[in-house]
Protein backbone atom coordinates (compact mmCIF):
# COMPACT_ATOMS: atom_id res chain seq x y z
CA UNK A 1 0.00 0.00 0.00
CA UNK A 2 1.46 3.36 -0.94
CA UNK A 3 0.89 6.75 0.70
CA UNK A 4 -1.56 7.70 -2.03
CA UNK A 5 -3.84 4.70 -1.75
CA UNK A 6 -6.29 5.20 1.07
CA UNK A 7 -6.54 2.38 3.61
CA UNK A 8 -9.49 0.12 2.75
CA UNK A 9 -11.70 -0.59 5.74
CA UNK A 10 -14.31 -3.30 6.36
CA UNK A 11 -16.83 -2.58 9.11
CA UNK A 12 -18.10 -5.62 11.04
CA UNK A 13 -20.94 -4.39 13.23
CA UNK A 14 -24.51 -5.60 13.75
CA UNK A 15 -25.93 -2.17 14.67
CA UNK A 16 -26.55 -0.49 11.33
CA UNK A 17 -26.73 3.04 12.75
CA UNK A 18 -23.36 2.62 14.43
CA UNK A 19 -21.94 1.19 11.23
CA UNK A 20 -23.32 4.08 9.14
CA UNK A 21 -21.82 6.69 11.44
CA UNK A 22 -18.55 4.78 11.71
CA UNK A 23 -18.32 4.76 7.92
CA UNK A 24 -18.43 8.58 7.95
CA UNK A 25 -15.62 8.70 10.52
CA UNK A 26 -13.55 6.27 8.45
CA UNK A 27 -13.95 8.48 5.35
CA UNK A 28 -13.22 11.64 7.34
CA UNK A 29 -9.76 10.39 8.35
CA UNK A 30 -8.96 9.62 4.71
CA UNK A 31 -9.68 5.89 4.66
CA UNK A 32 -12.06 4.14 2.31
CA UNK A 33 -15.02 2.17 3.62
CA UNK A 34 -15.29 -0.88 1.36
CA UNK A 35 -17.97 -2.95 3.06
CA UNK A 36 -20.16 -3.67 5.98
CA UNK A 37 -20.91 -7.08 7.52
CA UNK A 38 -23.38 -7.87 10.28
CA UNK A 39 -22.62 -11.55 10.93
CA UNK A 40 -19.48 -13.66 11.12
CA UNK A 41 -20.19 -15.52 7.85
CA UNK A 42 -20.73 -12.26 6.02
CA UNK A 43 -17.60 -10.77 7.58
CA UNK A 44 -15.37 -13.70 6.66
CA UNK A 45 -16.76 -13.85 3.10
CA UNK A 46 -16.35 -10.09 2.59
CA UNK A 47 -12.86 -10.10 4.07
CA UNK A 48 -11.87 -12.93 1.71
CA UNK A 49 -13.24 -11.19 -1.39
CA UNK A 50 -12.43 -7.54 -0.59
CA UNK A 51 -9.07 -8.11 1.11
CA UNK A 52 -9.38 -4.94 3.24
CA UNK A 53 -6.31 -3.40 4.85
CA UNK A 54 -8.24 -2.95 8.08
CA UNK A 55 -11.34 -4.55 9.62
CA UNK A 56 -13.18 -2.82 12.48
CA UNK A 57 -14.77 -5.71 14.37
CA UNK A 58 -17.43 -5.69 17.06
CA UNK A 59 -17.41 -8.77 19.31
CA UNK A 60 -21.19 -9.16 19.47
CA UNK A 61 -22.55 -9.82 15.98
CA UNK A 62 -25.90 -10.92 14.62
CA UNK A 63 -24.99 -14.59 15.16
CA UNK A 64 -23.63 -14.16 18.69
CA UNK A 65 -20.25 -13.27 20.24
CA UNK A 66 -18.44 -14.36 17.09
CA UNK A 67 -16.33 -11.25 16.51
CA UNK A 68 -13.29 -12.78 18.20
CA UNK A 69 -13.35 -15.64 15.72
CA UNK A 70 -13.82 -13.20 12.82
CA UNK A 71 -10.75 -11.22 13.91
CA UNK A 72 -8.68 -14.40 14.19
CA UNK A 73 -9.72 -15.57 10.71
CA UNK A 74 -9.03 -12.16 9.14
CA UNK A 75 -5.60 -11.93 10.76
CA UNK A 76 -4.74 -15.50 9.76
CA UNK A 77 -6.32 -15.93 6.32
CA UNK A 78 -6.92 -12.55 4.72
CA UNK A 79 -3.71 -10.65 5.35
CA UNK A 80 -5.64 -7.75 6.86
CA UNK A 81 -5.34 -6.12 10.25
CA UNK A 82 -8.30 -6.41 12.62
CA UNK A 83 -9.19 -3.83 15.24
CA UNK A 84 -11.83 -4.55 17.87
CA UNK A 85 -14.50 -1.99 18.69
CA UNK A 86 -16.43 -3.40 21.61
CA UNK A 87 -18.13 -2.58 24.89
CA UNK A 88 -16.68 -5.81 26.28
CA UNK A 89 -12.96 -5.09 26.36
CA UNK A 90 -12.46 -7.40 29.36
CA UNK A 91 -13.84 -10.41 27.52
CA UNK A 92 -11.21 -10.31 24.79
CA UNK A 93 -8.58 -13.07 24.86
CA UNK A 94 -5.09 -12.09 26.07
CA UNK A 95 -3.61 -12.32 22.58
CA UNK A 96 -6.55 -10.27 21.21
CA UNK A 97 -7.09 -13.02 18.63
CA UNK A 98 -4.39 -11.54 16.41
CA UNK A 99 -6.10 -8.13 16.27
CA UNK A 100 -3.87 -5.06 16.64
CA UNK A 101 -5.88 -3.56 19.46
CA UNK A 102 -9.22 -2.38 20.76
CA UNK A 103 -11.27 0.79 20.95
CA UNK A 104 -13.69 0.54 23.87
CA UNK A 105 -17.32 1.47 23.41
CA UNK A 106 -18.76 3.95 23.97
CA UNK A 107 -16.16 5.74 21.86
CA UNK A 108 -16.31 9.37 20.83
CA UNK A 109 -16.05 10.79 17.35
CA UNK A 110 -12.71 12.35 18.26
CA UNK A 111 -11.49 9.14 19.95
CA UNK A 112 -12.11 7.02 16.84
CA UNK A 113 -10.60 9.56 14.47
CA UNK A 114 -7.48 9.93 16.60
CA UNK A 115 -7.11 6.16 16.93
CA UNK A 116 -7.56 5.57 13.18
CA UNK A 117 -5.10 8.33 12.31
CA UNK A 118 -2.59 6.81 14.70
CA UNK A 119 -3.17 3.35 13.26
CA UNK A 120 -2.69 4.64 9.72
CA UNK A 121 0.73 5.96 10.72
CA UNK A 122 1.66 2.64 12.36
CA UNK A 123 0.63 0.64 9.27
CA UNK A 124 2.33 3.05 6.87
CA UNK A 125 5.65 3.32 8.74
CA UNK A 126 5.76 -0.04 10.52
CA UNK A 127 6.54 1.88 13.68
CA UNK A 128 4.32 3.75 16.13
CA UNK A 129 4.57 7.55 16.12
CA UNK A 130 4.30 7.48 19.93
CA UNK A 131 2.19 5.92 22.65
CA UNK A 132 -1.38 5.09 21.60
CA UNK A 133 -3.98 7.85 22.11
CA UNK A 134 -6.52 7.71 24.94
CA UNK A 135 -9.23 5.11 24.36
CA UNK A 136 -7.07 2.97 22.09
CA UNK A 137 -5.43 -0.09 23.59
CA UNK A 138 -2.79 -1.87 21.53
CA UNK A 139 -2.38 -5.65 21.58
CA UNK A 140 0.97 -6.60 23.19
CA UNK A 141 2.28 -8.38 20.07
CA UNK A 142 1.53 -5.37 17.85
CA UNK A 143 2.92 -2.88 20.36
CA UNK A 144 6.15 -4.87 20.22
CA UNK A 145 6.09 -5.01 16.42
CA UNK A 146 5.66 -1.23 16.25
CA UNK A 147 8.47 -0.57 18.69
CA UNK A 148 6.44 0.05 21.85
CA UNK A 149 7.19 -3.22 23.69
CA UNK A 150 9.02 -1.70 26.65
CA UNK A 151 6.63 1.23 26.86
CA UNK A 152 3.54 -0.99 27.02
CA UNK A 153 5.00 -3.12 29.76
CA UNK A 154 5.92 -0.15 31.94
CA UNK A 155 2.55 1.49 31.42
Amino acid sequence: MSDHTPLSVLIVEDEVLLAAELNYLVEEVGCRGVGHAMSSDEAIALAASLRPDLALVDVQLRDGPTGVDVARRIARDCGGVALFMTANVKRLPDDMAGACGVIGKPYSEHGVKTALTYLKACLRDGVAPGPPPAGFQLAPAWAERWGLGALQKSA
Binding site: K105, S108, E109, H110, G135
Partner: protein, 369 residues
Protein backbone atom coordinates in the same frame (compact mmCIF):
# COMPACT_ATOMS: atom_id res chain seq x y z
CA UNK B 1 -3.12 -80.13 78.20
CA UNK B 2 -0.83 -78.51 75.63
CA UNK B 3 2.89 -77.95 76.14
CA UNK B 4 2.47 -74.19 75.83
CA UNK B 5 -0.24 -74.21 78.46
CA UNK B 6 1.78 -76.37 80.85
CA UNK B 7 5.01 -74.38 80.51
CA UNK B 8 3.10 -71.11 80.83
CA UNK B 9 1.30 -72.40 83.88
CA UNK B 10 4.62 -73.38 85.42
CA UNK B 11 6.23 -70.01 84.61
CA UNK B 12 3.22 -68.25 86.09
CA UNK B 13 3.32 -70.36 89.21
CA UNK B 14 7.04 -69.64 89.65
CA UNK B 15 6.36 -65.90 89.32
CA UNK B 16 3.50 -66.09 91.79
CA UNK B 17 5.65 -68.04 94.25
CA UNK B 18 8.32 -65.36 94.10
CA UNK B 19 5.63 -62.74 94.93
CA UNK B 20 3.47 -64.11 97.71
CA UNK B 21 0.22 -62.69 99.10
CA UNK B 22 2.24 -60.31 101.32
CA UNK B 23 3.90 -58.64 98.28
CA UNK B 24 2.01 -55.35 97.86
CA UNK B 25 3.08 -54.93 94.18
CA UNK B 26 1.70 -58.35 93.31
CA UNK B 27 -1.45 -57.66 95.36
CA UNK B 28 -1.98 -54.41 93.51
CA UNK B 29 -1.67 -56.04 90.09
CA UNK B 30 -4.04 -58.85 91.04
CA UNK B 31 -6.68 -56.52 92.46
CA UNK B 32 -6.54 -53.39 90.28
CA UNK B 33 -9.58 -52.61 88.17
CA UNK B 34 -7.31 -52.09 85.17
CA UNK B 35 -6.93 -55.23 83.05
CA UNK B 36 -3.33 -56.47 83.14
CA UNK B 37 -1.34 -59.42 81.78
CA UNK B 38 2.25 -60.65 81.91
CA UNK B 39 3.85 -62.58 79.03
CA UNK B 40 6.98 -64.71 79.13
CA UNK B 41 9.59 -63.24 76.78
CA UNK B 42 11.85 -66.23 77.13
CA UNK B 43 9.36 -68.66 75.65
CA UNK B 44 8.63 -68.89 71.93
CA UNK B 45 5.74 -66.61 70.85
CA UNK B 46 5.54 -64.88 74.26
CA UNK B 47 2.62 -66.77 75.90
CA UNK B 48 0.55 -65.08 78.58
CA UNK B 49 1.56 -66.47 81.99
CA UNK B 50 -0.55 -64.18 84.16
CA UNK B 51 -3.88 -62.38 83.72
CA UNK B 52 -5.68 -60.46 86.47
CA UNK B 53 -9.42 -60.62 87.21
CA UNK B 54 -10.02 -57.32 85.44
CA UNK B 55 -8.55 -58.80 82.24
CA UNK B 56 -10.88 -61.83 82.48
CA UNK B 57 -13.83 -59.54 83.08
CA UNK B 58 -12.90 -57.28 80.15
CA UNK B 59 -12.38 -60.07 77.61
CA UNK B 60 -15.03 -62.53 78.87
CA UNK B 61 -12.54 -65.44 78.90
CA UNK B 62 -11.79 -67.68 81.87
CA UNK B 63 -8.22 -67.67 83.08
CA UNK B 64 -7.52 -71.19 81.78
CA UNK B 65 -8.59 -70.05 78.32
CA UNK B 66 -6.03 -67.24 78.47
CA UNK B 67 -2.86 -68.72 79.92
CA UNK B 68 -0.46 -70.11 77.33
CA UNK B 69 -1.78 -68.05 74.41
CA UNK B 70 -0.24 -65.10 72.66
CA UNK B 71 -2.42 -62.05 73.19
CA UNK B 72 -3.17 -61.79 69.48
CA UNK B 73 -6.10 -64.13 70.16
CA UNK B 74 -8.07 -60.96 71.00
CA UNK B 75 -7.68 -59.68 67.41
CA UNK B 76 -10.38 -60.16 64.78
CA UNK B 77 -11.72 -59.31 61.35
CA UNK B 78 -11.71 -55.52 61.61
CA UNK B 79 -8.49 -55.15 63.60
CA UNK B 80 -6.17 -52.72 61.78
CA UNK B 81 -3.16 -54.74 60.42
CA UNK B 82 -1.01 -51.61 60.58
CA UNK B 83 -1.57 -51.37 64.34
CA UNK B 84 -0.75 -55.07 64.72
CA UNK B 85 2.45 -54.56 62.74
CA UNK B 86 3.41 -51.57 64.95
CA UNK B 87 2.93 -53.79 68.03
CA UNK B 88 5.04 -56.59 66.58
CA UNK B 89 7.86 -54.19 65.70
CA UNK B 90 7.89 -52.66 69.20
CA UNK B 91 8.00 -56.11 70.85
CA UNK B 92 10.81 -57.26 68.51
CA UNK B 93 12.82 -54.15 69.35
CA UNK B 94 12.05 -54.37 73.08
CA UNK B 95 10.34 -50.98 73.23
CA UNK B 96 7.32 -49.57 75.05
CA UNK B 97 4.28 -49.20 72.86
CA UNK B 98 0.82 -47.67 73.29
CA UNK B 99 -1.86 -48.22 70.64
CA UNK B 100 -5.62 -48.09 70.28
CA UNK B 101 -6.57 -51.45 68.82
CA UNK B 102 -9.92 -53.05 67.97
CA UNK B 103 -10.18 -56.34 69.94
CA UNK B 104 -12.94 -58.91 70.32
CA UNK B 105 -14.48 -60.43 73.46
CA UNK B 106 -15.18 -64.14 73.80
CA UNK B 107 -18.78 -63.52 72.72
CA UNK B 108 -17.51 -61.87 69.53
CA UNK B 109 -18.38 -58.31 70.55
CA UNK B 110 -15.70 -55.84 69.45
CA UNK B 111 -14.25 -53.26 71.84
CA UNK B 112 -11.65 -50.53 71.53
CA UNK B 113 -8.63 -51.34 73.64
CA UNK B 114 -6.09 -48.71 74.71
CA UNK B 115 -3.20 -51.19 74.96
CA UNK B 116 0.10 -50.42 76.66
CA UNK B 117 2.95 -52.98 76.37
CA UNK B 118 6.28 -52.61 78.11
CA UNK B 119 9.31 -54.95 78.50
CA UNK B 120 10.64 -56.08 81.91
CA UNK B 121 14.40 -56.67 82.13
CA UNK B 122 16.47 -58.70 84.60
CA UNK B 123 19.70 -57.50 86.27
CA UNK B 124 21.68 -58.50 83.16
CA UNK B 125 19.45 -56.24 81.03
CA UNK B 126 17.85 -59.06 79.07
CA UNK B 127 14.11 -58.96 78.51
CA UNK B 128 12.36 -61.59 80.61
CA UNK B 129 8.70 -60.48 80.54
CA UNK B 130 6.36 -58.02 78.91
CA UNK B 131 3.51 -56.60 80.91
CA UNK B 132 0.43 -55.23 79.22
CA UNK B 133 -2.42 -53.09 80.47
CA UNK B 134 -5.75 -52.75 78.68
CA UNK B 135 -8.38 -50.08 78.96
CA UNK B 136 -11.79 -50.22 77.27
CA UNK B 137 -12.15 -46.93 75.39
CA UNK B 138 -15.04 -47.96 73.15
CA UNK B 139 -17.30 -45.12 74.21
CA UNK B 140 -14.55 -42.52 73.66
CA UNK B 141 -13.79 -44.00 70.21
CA UNK B 142 -17.46 -44.01 69.25
CA UNK B 143 -17.72 -40.36 70.27
CA UNK B 144 -14.63 -39.59 68.17
CA UNK B 145 -16.04 -41.41 65.16
CA UNK B 146 -19.40 -39.70 65.57
CA UNK B 147 -17.60 -36.38 65.79
CA UNK B 148 -15.64 -37.12 62.60
CA UNK B 149 -18.83 -38.11 60.82
CA UNK B 150 -20.52 -34.90 61.96
CA UNK B 151 -17.48 -32.96 60.82
CA UNK B 152 -17.64 -34.63 57.40
CA UNK B 153 -21.36 -33.84 57.17
CA UNK B 154 -20.64 -30.26 58.14
CA UNK B 155 -17.80 -30.07 55.62
CA UNK B 156 -20.14 -31.28 52.88
CA UNK B 157 -22.78 -28.77 53.97
CA UNK B 158 -20.22 -25.96 53.88
CA UNK B 159 -18.93 -27.01 50.47
CA UNK B 160 -22.45 -27.16 49.10
CA UNK B 161 -23.30 -23.74 50.50
CA UNK B 162 -20.04 -22.28 49.16
CA UNK B 163 -20.68 -23.72 45.71
CA UNK B 164 -24.20 -22.23 45.76
CA UNK B 165 -22.84 -18.82 46.73
CA UNK B 166 -20.10 -19.04 44.10
CA UNK B 167 -22.69 -19.86 41.49
CA UNK B 168 -24.91 -16.97 42.61
CA UNK B 169 -21.93 -14.61 42.46
CA UNK B 170 -21.01 -15.80 38.97
CA UNK B 171 -24.57 -15.22 37.82
CA UNK B 172 -24.59 -11.76 39.37
CA UNK B 173 -21.27 -10.89 37.74
CA UNK B 174 -22.48 -12.15 34.37
CA UNK B 175 -25.63 -10.06 34.75
CA UNK B 176 -23.61 -6.99 35.68
CA UNK B 177 -21.43 -7.46 32.60
CA UNK B 178 -24.51 -7.88 30.44
CA UNK B 179 -26.12 -4.70 31.78
CA UNK B 180 -22.84 -2.80 31.47
CA UNK B 181 -22.50 -4.01 27.90
CA UNK B 182 -26.02 -2.86 27.04
CA UNK B 183 -25.58 0.55 28.67
CA UNK B 184 -22.38 1.12 26.72
CA UNK B 185 -23.90 -0.02 23.44
CA UNK B 186 -26.97 2.13 23.95
CA UNK B 187 -24.87 5.19 24.74
CA UNK B 188 -22.95 4.46 21.55
CA UNK B 189 -26.20 4.18 19.63
CA UNK B 190 -27.49 7.50 21.03
CA UNK B 191 -24.31 9.34 20.15
CA UNK B 192 -24.24 7.81 16.67
CA UNK B 193 -27.84 8.95 16.11
CA UNK B 194 -27.02 12.50 17.19
CA UNK B 195 -23.93 12.56 14.99
CA UNK B 196 -25.83 11.21 11.99
CA UNK B 197 -28.52 13.84 12.36
CA UNK B 198 -26.00 16.64 12.93
CA UNK B 199 -24.32 15.66 9.66
CA UNK B 200 -27.58 16.03 7.71
CA UNK B 201 -28.79 19.25 9.33
CA UNK B 202 -28.13 22.38 7.24
CA UNK B 203 -29.37 24.84 9.92
CA UNK B 204 -26.33 25.87 12.02
CA UNK B 205 -28.46 26.61 15.10
CA UNK B 206 -30.04 23.14 15.07
CA UNK B 207 -26.67 21.59 14.35
CA UNK B 208 -25.15 23.41 17.32
CA UNK B 209 -27.97 22.15 19.54
CA UNK B 210 -27.39 18.57 18.35
CA UNK B 211 -23.66 18.97 18.92
CA UNK B 212 -24.40 20.26 22.42
CA UNK B 213 -26.47 17.20 23.18
CA UNK B 214 -23.78 14.97 21.71
CA UNK B 215 -21.26 16.59 24.04
CA UNK B 216 -23.48 15.82 27.04
CA UNK B 217 -24.08 12.23 25.97
CA UNK B 218 -20.36 11.92 25.42
CA UNK B 219 -19.68 13.14 28.98
CA UNK B 220 -21.95 10.43 30.36
CA UNK B 221 -20.38 7.88 28.00
CA UNK B 222 -16.91 8.80 29.20
CA UNK B 223 -18.07 8.06 32.75
CA UNK B 224 -19.40 4.65 31.74
CA UNK B 225 -16.29 3.74 29.83
CA UNK B 226 -14.25 4.49 32.98
CA UNK B 227 -16.75 3.08 35.46
CA UNK B 228 -16.30 -0.58 34.62
CA UNK B 229 -12.68 -0.41 33.60
CA UNK B 230 -11.62 -0.41 37.24
CA UNK B 231 -12.39 -3.33 39.54
CA UNK B 232 -14.17 -1.03 41.96
CA UNK B 233 -17.61 -0.21 40.56
CA UNK B 234 -18.54 1.89 43.61
CA UNK B 235 -15.86 4.57 43.33
CA UNK B 236 -14.99 6.82 40.47
CA UNK B 237 -11.74 8.69 39.83
CA UNK B 238 -12.62 12.24 38.74
CA UNK B 239 -9.14 13.07 37.52
CA UNK B 240 -8.87 10.16 35.09
CA UNK B 241 -12.25 11.07 33.69
CA UNK B 242 -11.35 14.79 33.38
CA UNK B 243 -8.16 13.91 31.54
CA UNK B 244 -10.19 11.89 28.99
CA UNK B 245 -12.88 14.50 28.62
CA UNK B 246 -10.58 17.55 28.19
CA UNK B 247 -8.54 15.89 25.46
CA UNK B 248 -11.71 14.72 23.77
CA UNK B 249 -13.53 18.06 23.97
CA UNK B 250 -10.61 20.12 22.69
CA UNK B 251 -9.91 17.50 20.02
CA UNK B 252 -13.54 17.51 18.88
CA UNK B 253 -13.60 21.31 18.68
CA UNK B 254 -10.83 21.16 16.09
CA UNK B 255 -9.19 24.11 17.84
CA UNK B 256 -5.48 23.32 17.59
CA UNK B 257 -4.81 26.77 19.06
CA UNK B 258 -6.34 25.89 22.42
CA UNK B 259 -4.17 23.88 24.77
CA UNK B 260 -4.87 22.32 28.13
CA UNK B 261 -2.89 22.61 31.33
CA UNK B 262 -3.91 19.91 33.79
CA UNK B 263 -3.05 19.73 37.46
CA UNK B 264 -4.99 16.71 38.69
CA UNK B 265 -4.85 15.03 42.06
CA UNK B 266 -6.44 11.61 42.26
CA UNK B 267 -9.86 12.12 43.83
CA UNK B 268 -12.61 9.48 44.09
CA UNK B 269 -16.32 10.16 44.30
CA UNK B 270 -19.10 7.62 44.70
CA UNK B 271 -20.26 6.21 41.38
CA UNK B 272 -23.74 7.75 41.64
CA UNK B 273 -22.20 11.24 41.57
CA UNK B 274 -20.05 10.49 38.54
CA UNK B 275 -22.56 11.20 35.77
CA UNK B 276 -23.97 14.50 37.15
CA UNK B 277 -20.45 15.70 37.92
CA UNK B 278 -19.33 14.76 34.43
CA UNK B 279 -22.24 16.70 32.91
CA UNK B 280 -21.50 19.73 35.08
CA UNK B 281 -17.81 19.71 34.20
CA UNK B 282 -18.51 19.15 30.52
CA UNK B 283 -20.88 22.14 30.45
CA UNK B 284 -18.28 24.48 31.96
CA UNK B 285 -15.48 23.15 29.79
CA UNK B 286 -17.65 23.46 26.66
CA UNK B 287 -18.40 27.08 27.57
CA UNK B 288 -14.71 27.87 27.88
CA UNK B 289 -13.86 26.21 24.57
CA UNK B 290 -16.74 27.87 22.68
CA UNK B 291 -16.72 31.36 24.15
CA UNK B 292 -13.36 32.29 25.65
CA UNK B 293 -11.36 32.30 22.45
CA UNK B 294 -13.36 33.97 19.64
CA UNK B 295 -12.00 34.98 16.27
CA UNK B 296 -9.14 32.48 16.30
CA UNK B 297 -7.70 33.81 19.55
CA UNK B 298 -5.28 31.20 20.96
CA UNK B 299 -5.29 30.27 24.60
CA UNK B 300 -4.86 27.88 27.47
CA UNK B 301 -7.50 26.19 29.61
CA UNK B 302 -6.23 25.27 33.05
CA UNK B 303 -7.99 22.51 34.95
CA UNK B 304 -7.07 21.52 38.47
CA UNK B 305 -8.59 19.00 40.86
CA UNK B 306 -7.67 18.70 44.53
CA UNK B 307 -9.06 18.15 48.02
CA UNK B 308 -9.46 21.27 50.07
CA UNK B 309 -11.13 21.69 53.49
CA UNK B 310 -13.37 18.66 53.23
CA UNK B 311 -14.34 19.53 49.66
CA UNK B 312 -13.28 18.44 46.23
CA UNK B 313 -12.21 21.60 44.44
CA UNK B 314 -12.41 21.58 40.66
CA UNK B 315 -11.18 24.67 38.84
CA UNK B 316 -11.54 25.54 35.18
CA UNK B 317 -9.71 28.73 34.18
CA UNK B 318 -9.18 30.20 30.74
CA UNK B 319 -7.02 33.10 29.61
CA UNK B 320 -9.60 34.16 27.04
CA UNK B 321 -11.60 37.30 26.51
CA UNK B 322 -13.44 37.32 29.84
CA UNK B 323 -17.06 37.99 30.60
CA UNK B 324 -17.32 41.62 29.47
CA UNK B 325 -16.60 40.97 25.83
CA UNK B 326 -18.01 37.49 25.64
CA UNK B 327 -20.99 36.52 23.63
CA UNK B 328 -24.12 36.02 25.70
CA UNK B 329 -24.13 32.43 27.01
CA UNK B 330 -26.86 30.06 26.00
CA UNK B 331 -29.59 29.63 28.59
CA UNK B 332 -29.90 25.85 28.59
CA UNK B 333 -26.27 25.30 29.56
CA UNK B 334 -26.64 27.68 32.51
CA UNK B 335 -29.80 25.88 33.62
CA UNK B 336 -28.03 22.54 33.55
CA UNK B 337 -25.18 23.93 35.66
CA UNK B 338 -27.57 25.38 38.24
CA UNK B 339 -29.67 22.22 38.53
CA UNK B 340 -26.73 19.86 38.75
CA UNK B 341 -25.10 21.99 41.46
CA UNK B 342 -28.32 21.72 43.39
CA UNK B 343 -28.38 17.95 42.98
CA UNK B 344 -24.73 17.54 43.96
CA UNK B 345 -24.99 20.14 46.78
CA UNK B 346 -22.03 21.74 45.07
CA UNK B 347 -21.08 25.42 44.95
CA UNK B 348 -20.12 26.87 41.62
CA UNK B 349 -18.59 30.32 41.32
CA UNK B 350 -17.46 32.06 38.18
CA UNK B 351 -15.33 35.19 38.39
CA UNK B 352 -13.08 37.34 36.21
CA UNK B 353 -9.52 36.08 36.26
CA UNK B 354 -7.89 38.93 34.27
CA UNK B 355 -7.42 37.62 31.69
CA UNK B 356 -10.28 35.25 31.14
CA UNK B 357 -12.65 33.55 33.50
CA UNK B 358 -12.24 31.18 36.39
CA UNK B 359 -14.94 28.80 37.56
CA UNK B 360 -14.52 26.89 40.82
CA UNK B 361 -16.74 23.96 41.82
CA UNK B 362 -16.67 22.88 45.45
CA UNK B 363 -18.19 19.46 45.99
CA UNK B 364 -18.67 18.22 49.56
CA UNK B 365 -16.63 15.02 50.09
CA UNK B 366 -19.33 13.01 51.84
CA UNK B 367 -22.34 14.50 50.15
CA UNK B 368 -22.84 16.95 53.06
CA UNK B 369 -22.47 20.69 52.55
Amino acid sequence: MSDEYRSSLEAGAALAAAHGPDDPFAAAIRATRMAMIITDARQADHPIIFANDAFCALTGYDRDEIIGRNCRFLQGARTDPQVVSALRTAVAQGQNVAVDILNYRKDGAPFWNALYLSPVRNAAGEITYFFGSQLDITSRKQAELAFLERRDDLQIAIETATADLQHALEQKTALLHEVDHRVKNNLQLISSLLLLQARRTPDPVVRAALRGMLERVNAVATVHRRLFQSEDVERFDISAFIRDLVSDAIGTSGRNDISANLDLERVDVSADKAAPLALLFSELLGNAIRHAFPDGRAGVIKVSVRRENGCFRIEIADDGVGVATEEPRPGFGQTIVRLLCEQLRAECETADAFPGLRTVIRLPVNGKP
